[in-house]
Symmetry: C2
DNA sequence: TCAACATATCCATGAGCATCAATATTTACG
DNA sequence: CGTAAATATTGATGCTCATGGATATGTTGA
Protein backbone atom coordinates (compact mmCIF):
# COMPACT_ATOMS: atom_id res chain seq x y z
CA UNK A 1 0.00 0.00 0.00
CA UNK A 2 3.03 2.16 0.43
CA UNK A 3 3.78 1.31 -3.17
CA UNK A 4 0.37 2.49 -4.16
CA UNK A 5 0.90 5.78 -2.49
CA UNK A 6 4.27 6.19 -4.14
CA UNK A 7 2.72 5.51 -7.49
CA UNK A 8 0.00 8.06 -6.92
CA UNK A 9 2.52 10.69 -5.95
CA UNK A 10 4.80 9.78 -8.77
CA UNK A 11 3.25 11.98 -11.38
CA UNK A 12 2.70 15.31 -9.63
CA UNK A 13 2.06 17.93 -12.20
CA UNK A 14 1.82 21.40 -10.69
CA UNK A 15 -1.37 22.24 -8.88
CA UNK A 16 -2.26 24.92 -11.37
CA UNK A 17 -2.21 22.48 -14.26
CA UNK A 18 -5.43 20.68 -13.53
CA UNK A 19 -7.74 19.99 -10.61
CA UNK A 20 -6.66 17.16 -8.37
CA UNK A 21 -8.65 13.98 -8.39
CA UNK A 22 -10.44 12.88 -5.27
CA UNK A 23 -8.13 10.02 -4.39
CA UNK A 24 -4.98 11.91 -5.24
CA UNK A 25 -5.99 14.87 -3.13
CA UNK A 26 -6.67 12.52 -0.23
CA UNK A 27 -3.27 10.91 -0.52
CA UNK A 28 -1.49 14.21 -0.90
CA UNK A 29 -3.40 15.83 1.94
CA UNK A 30 -2.13 13.09 4.22
CA UNK A 31 1.43 14.14 3.47
CA UNK A 32 0.72 17.82 3.94
CA UNK A 33 -1.09 17.08 7.18
CA UNK A 34 2.02 15.30 8.38
CA UNK A 35 3.95 18.51 7.72
CA UNK A 36 1.20 20.55 9.32
CA UNK A 37 2.58 20.24 12.80
CA UNK A 38 5.35 22.50 14.17
CA UNK A 39 7.16 19.65 15.88
CA UNK A 40 7.10 17.41 12.80
CA UNK A 41 8.21 20.24 10.55
CA UNK A 42 11.16 20.89 12.84
CA UNK A 43 11.94 17.19 12.94
CA UNK A 44 12.08 17.09 9.16
CA UNK A 45 14.32 20.13 9.03
CA UNK A 46 16.59 18.80 11.74
CA UNK A 47 16.97 15.45 10.02
CA UNK A 48 17.39 17.04 6.61
CA UNK A 49 20.06 19.45 7.75
CA UNK A 50 21.85 17.07 10.06
CA UNK A 51 25.33 16.01 9.12
CA UNK A 52 25.35 12.86 7.07
CA UNK A 53 21.70 13.44 6.23
CA UNK A 54 20.55 11.39 9.18
CA UNK A 55 19.76 11.80 12.84
CA UNK A 56 19.06 9.33 15.59
CA UNK A 57 16.07 9.59 17.87
CA UNK A 58 18.33 10.70 20.67
CA UNK A 59 19.30 13.75 18.63
CA UNK A 60 15.64 14.62 18.27
CA UNK A 61 14.49 14.04 21.82
CA UNK A 62 17.31 16.32 22.88
CA UNK A 63 16.02 19.05 20.57
CA UNK A 64 12.52 19.25 22.04
CA UNK A 65 10.94 19.69 25.42
CA UNK A 66 8.68 16.74 24.75
CA UNK A 67 8.41 13.24 26.09
CA UNK A 68 10.13 10.49 24.18
CA UNK A 69 6.89 8.70 23.20
CA UNK A 70 5.69 11.92 21.65
CA UNK A 71 8.77 12.21 19.44
CA UNK A 72 8.43 8.56 18.55
CA UNK A 73 4.81 9.15 17.57
CA UNK A 74 5.71 12.05 15.29
CA UNK A 75 8.46 10.02 13.67
CA UNK A 76 5.96 7.27 12.95
CA UNK A 77 3.58 9.73 11.33
CA UNK A 78 6.31 11.11 9.10
CA UNK A 79 7.46 7.62 8.24
CA UNK A 80 3.95 6.42 7.42
CA UNK A 81 3.50 9.09 4.76
CA UNK A 82 6.88 8.30 3.23
CA UNK A 83 8.70 11.45 4.28
CA UNK A 84 11.21 9.61 6.44
CA UNK A 85 12.91 6.26 6.50
CA UNK A 86 14.58 4.61 9.45
CA UNK A 87 17.42 2.22 9.94
CA UNK A 88 18.51 0.55 13.14
CA UNK A 89 22.23 0.42 13.85
CA UNK A 90 23.25 -0.95 17.20
CA UNK A 91 21.03 0.50 19.89
CA UNK A 92 20.11 3.56 17.89
CA UNK A 93 17.62 4.17 15.14
CA UNK A 94 18.61 6.65 12.48
CA UNK A 95 16.10 8.59 10.45
CA UNK A 96 16.69 10.22 7.10
CA UNK A 97 14.45 12.10 4.73
CA UNK A 98 13.19 10.78 1.40
CA UNK A 99 14.33 13.53 -1.00
CA UNK A 100 12.07 12.32 -3.80
CA UNK A 101 9.07 12.84 -1.62
CA UNK A 102 10.04 16.43 -0.85
CA UNK A 103 10.81 17.02 -4.51
CA UNK A 104 7.35 15.78 -5.45
CA UNK A 105 5.67 18.20 -3.11
CA UNK A 106 7.94 20.98 -4.27
CA UNK A 107 7.02 20.30 -7.88
CA UNK A 108 3.35 20.13 -7.02
CA UNK A 109 3.45 23.56 -5.41
CA UNK A 110 5.59 25.06 -8.16
CA UNK A 111 3.68 28.23 -8.89
CA UNK A 112 2.76 29.34 -12.37
CA UNK A 113 5.22 32.22 -12.47
CA UNK A 114 4.06 34.59 -15.15
CA UNK A 115 7.39 35.39 -16.72
CA UNK A 116 6.30 37.53 -19.60
CA UNK A 117 3.26 39.13 -18.08
CA UNK B 1 7.92 43.71 -8.81
CA UNK B 2 10.38 41.12 -10.00
CA UNK B 3 12.47 42.23 -7.09
CA UNK B 4 9.57 41.61 -4.77
CA UNK B 5 9.16 38.14 -6.06
CA UNK B 6 12.84 37.40 -5.75
CA UNK B 7 12.78 38.69 -2.23
CA UNK B 8 9.90 36.43 -1.36
CA UNK B 9 11.61 33.44 -2.86
CA UNK B 10 14.80 34.34 -1.12
CA UNK B 11 13.24 34.38 2.31
CA UNK B 12 12.85 30.61 2.31
CA UNK B 13 15.95 28.58 2.40
CA UNK B 14 15.40 24.91 1.76
CA UNK B 15 14.56 22.72 4.71
CA UNK B 16 17.81 20.87 4.39
CA UNK B 17 19.85 24.03 4.80
CA UNK B 18 19.32 24.55 8.50
CA UNK B 19 16.86 23.59 11.23
CA UNK B 20 13.74 25.69 11.37
CA UNK B 21 13.29 28.02 14.29
CA UNK B 22 10.43 27.47 16.67
CA UNK B 23 8.33 30.42 15.53
CA UNK B 24 8.99 29.86 11.85
CA UNK B 25 8.06 26.21 12.08
CA UNK B 26 4.81 27.18 13.80
CA UNK B 27 3.93 29.67 11.08
CA UNK B 28 4.82 27.29 8.28
CA UNK B 29 3.03 24.38 9.90
CA UNK B 30 -0.15 26.43 9.87
CA UNK B 31 0.09 26.73 6.10
CA UNK B 32 0.82 23.06 5.60
CA UNK B 33 -2.02 22.17 7.92
CA UNK B 34 -4.31 24.23 5.73
CA UNK B 35 -3.19 22.10 2.78
CA UNK B 36 -3.53 18.96 4.87
CA UNK B 37 -7.19 18.47 4.04
CA UNK B 38 -8.40 16.76 0.84
CA UNK B 39 -11.17 19.27 0.28
CA UNK B 40 -8.92 22.28 0.75
CA UNK B 41 -6.25 20.79 -1.47
CA UNK B 42 -8.82 20.28 -4.20
CA UNK B 43 -10.11 23.79 -3.71
CA UNK B 44 -6.63 25.17 -4.21
CA UNK B 45 -6.11 23.10 -7.33
CA UNK B 46 -9.49 24.06 -8.73
CA UNK B 47 -8.89 27.75 -8.16
CA UNK B 48 -5.32 27.57 -9.45
CA UNK B 49 -6.27 25.75 -12.62
CA UNK B 50 -9.48 27.64 -13.28
CA UNK B 51 -9.60 29.90 -16.28
CA UNK B 52 -8.60 33.44 -15.45
CA UNK B 53 -6.86 32.16 -12.34
CA UNK B 54 -9.97 32.68 -10.27
CA UNK B 55 -13.14 30.87 -9.27
CA UNK B 56 -16.26 31.98 -7.49
CA UNK B 57 -17.73 30.14 -4.54
CA UNK B 58 -20.52 28.87 -6.72
CA UNK B 59 -17.93 27.05 -8.87
CA UNK B 60 -16.60 25.36 -5.76
CA UNK B 61 -19.85 24.40 -4.11
CA UNK B 62 -20.76 22.78 -7.41
CA UNK B 63 -17.57 20.71 -7.33
CA UNK B 64 -18.19 19.09 -3.97
CA UNK B 65 -20.89 17.12 -2.27
CA UNK B 66 -20.64 19.34 0.76
CA UNK B 67 -22.82 21.98 2.32
CA UNK B 68 -22.17 25.57 1.39
CA UNK B 69 -21.07 26.61 4.90
CA UNK B 70 -18.46 23.87 4.82
CA UNK B 71 -16.94 25.22 1.61
CA UNK B 72 -17.07 28.72 3.05
CA UNK B 73 -15.24 27.50 6.12
CA UNK B 74 -12.46 25.89 4.08
CA UNK B 75 -12.08 29.04 2.02
CA UNK B 76 -11.66 31.05 5.19
CA UNK B 77 -8.97 28.70 6.43
CA UNK B 78 -7.05 28.97 3.16
CA UNK B 79 -7.44 32.72 3.16
CA UNK B 80 -6.30 33.08 6.76
CA UNK B 81 -2.97 31.44 6.02
CA UNK B 82 -2.43 33.59 2.95
CA UNK B 83 -2.92 30.93 0.30
CA UNK B 84 -5.99 32.58 -1.21
CA UNK B 85 -7.34 36.06 -1.69
CA UNK B 86 -10.90 37.03 -2.37
CA UNK B 87 -12.63 39.82 -4.23
CA UNK B 88 -16.32 40.57 -4.35
CA UNK B 89 -17.82 41.47 -7.69
CA UNK B 90 -21.56 41.86 -7.84
CA UNK B 91 -23.18 39.04 -5.93
CA UNK B 92 -20.25 36.73 -6.33
CA UNK B 93 -16.99 36.39 -4.48
CA UNK B 94 -14.01 35.31 -6.53
CA UNK B 95 -11.04 33.53 -5.02
CA UNK B 96 -7.55 33.35 -6.49
CA UNK B 97 -4.35 31.81 -5.24
CA UNK B 98 -1.34 33.77 -3.97
CA UNK B 99 1.48 32.45 -6.16
CA UNK B 100 4.19 33.81 -3.89
CA UNK B 101 2.85 31.70 -1.09
CA UNK B 102 3.01 28.53 -3.14
CA UNK B 103 6.46 29.47 -4.40
CA UNK B 104 7.58 29.95 -0.83
CA UNK B 105 6.51 26.45 0.13
CA UNK B 106 7.92 25.01 -3.07
CA UNK B 107 11.30 26.57 -2.36
CA UNK B 108 11.21 25.38 1.21
CA UNK B 109 10.66 21.80 0.13
CA UNK B 110 13.19 21.93 -2.66
CA UNK B 111 15.37 18.99 -1.79
CA UNK B 112 19.06 18.70 -2.53
CA UNK B 113 18.47 15.49 -4.40
CA UNK B 114 21.69 15.27 -6.36
CA UNK B 115 23.85 17.94 -4.82
CA UNK B 116 27.20 16.39 -4.31
CA UNK B 117 28.03 13.98 -1.52
C1' DT C 1 21.49 -14.15 32.89
C1' DC C 2 21.04 -9.56 34.53
C1' DA C 3 21.16 -4.54 34.28
C1' DA C 4 21.17 -0.31 31.78
C1' DC C 5 20.00 2.16 27.81
C1' DA C 6 17.41 3.34 23.36
C1' DT C 7 13.23 3.16 21.06
C1' DA C 8 8.45 1.70 20.18
C1' DT C 9 3.70 0.60 21.56
C1' DC C 10 -0.46 0.98 24.41
C1' DC C 11 -3.80 3.61 26.72
C1' DA C 12 -6.22 7.61 28.40
C1' DT C 13 -7.32 12.53 28.05
C1' DG C 14 -8.08 17.06 26.67
C1' DA C 15 -7.93 20.10 22.69
C1' DG C 16 -8.81 20.98 17.93
C1' DC C 17 -11.38 20.32 13.77
C1' DA C 18 -14.69 19.02 9.78
C1' DT C 19 -19.36 19.10 9.07
C1' DC C 20 -24.04 20.89 8.75
C1' DA C 21 -28.46 23.25 10.09
C1' DA C 22 -30.02 27.64 11.14
C1' DT C 23 -29.35 32.27 10.64
C1' DA C 24 -27.20 36.63 9.27
C1' DT C 25 -25.26 39.61 5.70
C1' DT C 26 -24.74 41.37 1.21
C1' DT C 27 -26.20 42.29 -3.48
C1' DA C 28 -29.37 42.51 -7.42
C1' DC C 29 -33.66 43.45 -9.33
C1' DG C 30 -38.74 44.43 -9.58
C1' DC D 1 -39.40 48.77 -0.03
C1' DG D 2 -39.49 43.43 -0.67
C1' DT D 3 -37.90 39.21 -2.50
C1' DA D 4 -34.51 36.10 -4.15
C1' DA D 5 -29.83 34.67 -4.69
C1' DA D 6 -24.86 34.33 -3.11
C1' DT D 7 -21.92 34.06 0.62
C1' DA D 8 -20.55 34.33 5.54
C1' DT D 9 -21.23 33.44 10.49
C1' DT D 10 -22.88 30.92 14.51
C1' DG D 11 -23.64 26.98 17.33
C1' DA D 12 -23.66 22.12 18.08
C1' DT D 13 -21.74 17.46 17.42
C1' DG D 14 -18.93 13.66 16.53
C1' DC D 15 -14.35 12.50 15.35
C1' DT D 16 -9.33 13.07 15.03
C1' DC D 17 -5.12 14.00 17.18
C1' DA D 18 -1.10 15.66 20.16
C1' DT D 19 0.65 14.53 24.48
C1' DG D 20 2.55 11.83 28.24
C1' DG D 21 2.65 7.89 31.65
C1' DA D 22 3.20 3.10 31.84
C1' DT D 23 4.94 -0.64 29.60
C1' DA D 24 6.99 -3.55 26.00
C1' DT D 25 10.76 -4.59 22.78
C1' DG D 26 15.40 -4.61 21.46
C1' DT D 27 20.43 -3.89 22.14
C1' DT D 28 24.82 -3.72 24.64
C1' DG D 29 27.95 -5.07 28.00
C1' DA D 30 29.36 -7.45 32.23
Amino acid sequence: MLMDMLKVLDCCTPLAREPLGEEKSTTLARVFKALGDPVRLRIVSIVASHQGGEACVCDLTASFDLAQPTISHHLKVLKDVGLLTSERRASWVYYRIVPERLAELSALLAAPVEVGK
